[in-house]
């Protein structure tokens, strides 16, 4: 598989060529807000270099609101229509590499048999993922601490390395070849620059828990859960912004003459998530809810699928209203509850 160089001033032509073959999805600028993955129209100028905070790619693959079924009841007859989206060849560009790995977690949840999710599958299975490694790593990233990032490469179709005035495009799957058609070959200098950037990504924010098998270290009884729960204000931001959190709710709504059954985001951080009709709630306090989210990501999902549910994208680190820094929490867990500041 041949790597190529994409000069930044050639991006319009590159996009035009891709759009003739695929539906191209990439982060688009939004006013006062993180960029958002959108299907591109001709002339759009997406943010391909990963330099900006963006909504997680799940917002495209697993929309925050999606109609599953439309049910019509007329004249004593009931008809159900499955609103499965169109399965068309797509390319997602500008996906942070940790976000691309998070899609692996979503794939495990939604594509594994016996119950494949037809809605997710229609958007995902025919979609190539082109990851990006930006020129500057975000301060909140800690990807190399959660996993061996070398193992992430084959999970995407290509990786674009931002080398300033050009992208180095590393093709990592066979179908990824079709993305780089017609692009120039890299020079030795390009390869060296790319290797340097990869090394910086790999070694960025390697934290004290990096060598620990977190799924063995996270304990049910740990004073750290109590500490998080004390300050947590129980909003759902960490889950909603997380690229791998995928829990959802299903609700019905009557829309004129038909019923729409839709799904929308939900989170284990909300009290009513596990509240049963009869009033019993197994996680009625914040402590078990705080524990559930982290145990699920770092332990349960690893047990279930063999992948770690957190890829170190740092969104919750940056955005948590009360600065519950997941990196600090994991350091604490591994240091036997001794306070240990996050190293830089």
């Amino acid at each position: 598989m041949a790597d190529k160089i994409l000069a930044k001033d050639k991006i319009p032509e590159f996009l035009q060529r891709l759009m003739s073959k695929f539906t191209v999805v990439a982060p688009m600028e939004r006013k006062d807000a993180p960029a958002e993955f959108k299907e591109l129209s001709p002339g759009d100028k997406p943010i391909l270099d990963g330099s900006r905070m963006m909504m997680p790619p799940k917002d495209y693959l697993l929309p925050r609101y999606e109609v599953l079924l439309r049910v019509r009841q007329t004249g004593g007859e009931t008809k159900i229509e499955s609103m499965i989206p169109e399965d068309k060849p797509r390319v997602m560009l500008g996906v942070w590499l940790p976000d691309a790995q998070a899609i692996q977690v979503l794939d495990r949840v939604f594509l594994e048999e016996p119950f494949k999710d037809p809605y997710y599958a229609a958007r995902r299975e025919n979609t190539m993922i082109v990851a990006v490694i930006p020129a500057e790593m975000r301060w909140s990233w800690f990807c190399g601490s959660t996993d061996d990032v070398e193992t992430w490469k084959p999970n995407v179709d290509a990786i674009m390395y931002d080398l300033g005035d050009r992208f180095y495009v590393e093709v990592t799957s066979e179908r990824g070849e079709s993305i780089v058609e017609g692009l120039a070959d890299p020079t030795e200098e390009d390869i060296a620059a790319k290797n340097g950037l990869w090394e910086r990504f790999k070694t960025h924010n390697i934290l004290p828990f990096a060598d620990e098998k977190l799924y063995n270290r996270l304990e049910w009884d740990n004073s750290v859960w109590e500490e998080i729960a004390a300050k947590c204000v129980a909003c759902g931001m960490c889950s909603y912004m997380c690229p791998s959190c995928s829990c959802f709710d299903i609700q019905d709504e009557v829309c004129g003459t038909c019923v729409e059954r839709y799904r929308c985001r939900d989170t284990c951080q909300f009290e009513d998530f596990t509240l049963m009709g009869a009033g019993h709630n197994p996680r009625s306090e914040q402590l078990p809810r705080s524990r559930q989210r982290l145990m699920h990501k770092f332990k349960y999902q690893h047990e279930q699928f063999g992948v770690v549910g957190c890829t170190g994208c740092g969104r919750c680190v940056e955005l948590c209203p009360v600065n519950v820094d997941i990196r600090e929490v994991l350091c604490r867990v591994c240091a036997g509850n001794q306070p240990e500041p996050v190293s830089k």
Binding site: P34, R64, W139, V233, G236, M241, T267, L319, N323
Partner: protein
């Protein structure tokens, strides 16, 4: 400012030792130098965990309704946080006698988002402190002076109430605002509608705005109710509009404008702008300001003959 920090710790220690408070809620060092995190101090020897710097953004009054029900709680509070406390007292959510308030004069706190667009890297920052007429950010490569308007939160730039309204101990002097930024919504309803439609369409319904709000203490929020269902959980522009508009109405005459809602919004919805607008209307029509200790009761809990009947607002 480190002198104030030392005195906060002294007062906290005294309060714990004398029994004036069983626990002190304050800000502790964050995981990075440009953030702080809420800390709950119960032992006098732990008071050194308390800090005071321009990153002390959180309005800690949010913890009071659940903490100060049955015990004495000390709280380190900025003037805006104290207005929240006043509102909570007026609404019978906490009792004044259960509180020990360490009130601080304030010069405004930093908006971390504003630090992103400066000529230093966030990960290189080692300290942030107040200096005359601005902020000094120390990084691994040197010092950077930022003007208030470049780095403080919008709410702080608009704030004129920089002295604690009520307190048991008062520390520090308020820094007068150097410049007042005037924000305003368009006078035209259709422009306002367009503006808010765009803003609300971004909402992901994480409810961070509601959860950090000290005055959003309802045990069952209308947005979570199933019967009757006021608004659906789905994040569509219409439902988002319903959520934010209802919440704004619910906070009319109650919001003290600390701006926490706006600070925590992950998608940059100017939630506090709505609150400001509501406060302006309340001030104009009822001459009432939430969080004012001279008011005896909440606006909507009292009736004065001079009150405007909102149903007959003639314009």
């Amino acid at each position: 400012m480190s002198e104030i920090e030392t005195r906060i710790r002294e007062e906290a220690r005294k309060a714990l030792e004398s029994g004036a408070a069983e626990v002190i809620v304050g800000w502790g060092a964050g995981s990075v130098p440009f953030r702080t995190t809420p800390v709950f101090i119960t032992k006098p020897e732990d008071v050194d965990k308390l800090v005071w710097n321009p990153a002390c953004v959180n309005n800690l009054a949010v913890y009071l309704p659940r903490m100060a029900k049955d015990k004495k709680v000390g709280i380190v509070a900025k003037p805006c946080d104290i207005r929240s406390i006043v509102a909570l007292i007026q609404e019978n959510q906490v009792k004044r006698e259960n509180l020990f308030i360490i009130g601080l004069g304030c010069g405004g706190v930093v908006d971390a988002a504003n630090l992103e667009d400066q000529d230093f890297r966030l990960q290189d920052v080692t300290a942030i402190e107040w200096v005359a007429d601005g902020l000094r950010v120390t990084t691994v490569s040197g010092e950077h002076l930022l003007s208030c308007s470049d780095c403080l939160r919008d709410m702080c730039l608009l704030c004129t109430k920089r002295e604690p309204a009520i307190y048991d101990v008062k520390l520090g002097e308020a820094v007068p605002p150097s410049e007042l930024r005037v924000c305003g919504l368009s006078e035209l309803p259709e422009e306002r509608r367009k503006y808010w439609s765009e803003q609300f369409s971004k909402c992901i319904r994480c409810y961070a705005c509601r959860q950090v709000c000290p005055n959003c203490y309802c045990e069952a929020c209308f947005a979570d109710r199933i019967e009757p269902k006021w608004t659906a959980k789905k994040a569509t522009p219409e439902e988002n509009w319903m959520f934010h508009a209802t919440r704004a109405m619910h906070l009319a005459g109650r919001c003290i404008q600390c701006g926490e809602c706006e600070r925590v919004c992950p998608v940059g919805i100017p939630v506090a702008e709505l609150a400001r607008e509501m406060a302006k209307i309340v001030k104009e029509k009822y001459d009432y300001e939430a969080g004012d200790p001279d008011e005896e009761a909440p606006l909507l809990g009292t009736f004065r003959e001079s009150d405007v009947d909102p149903a007959h607002r003639s314009e």
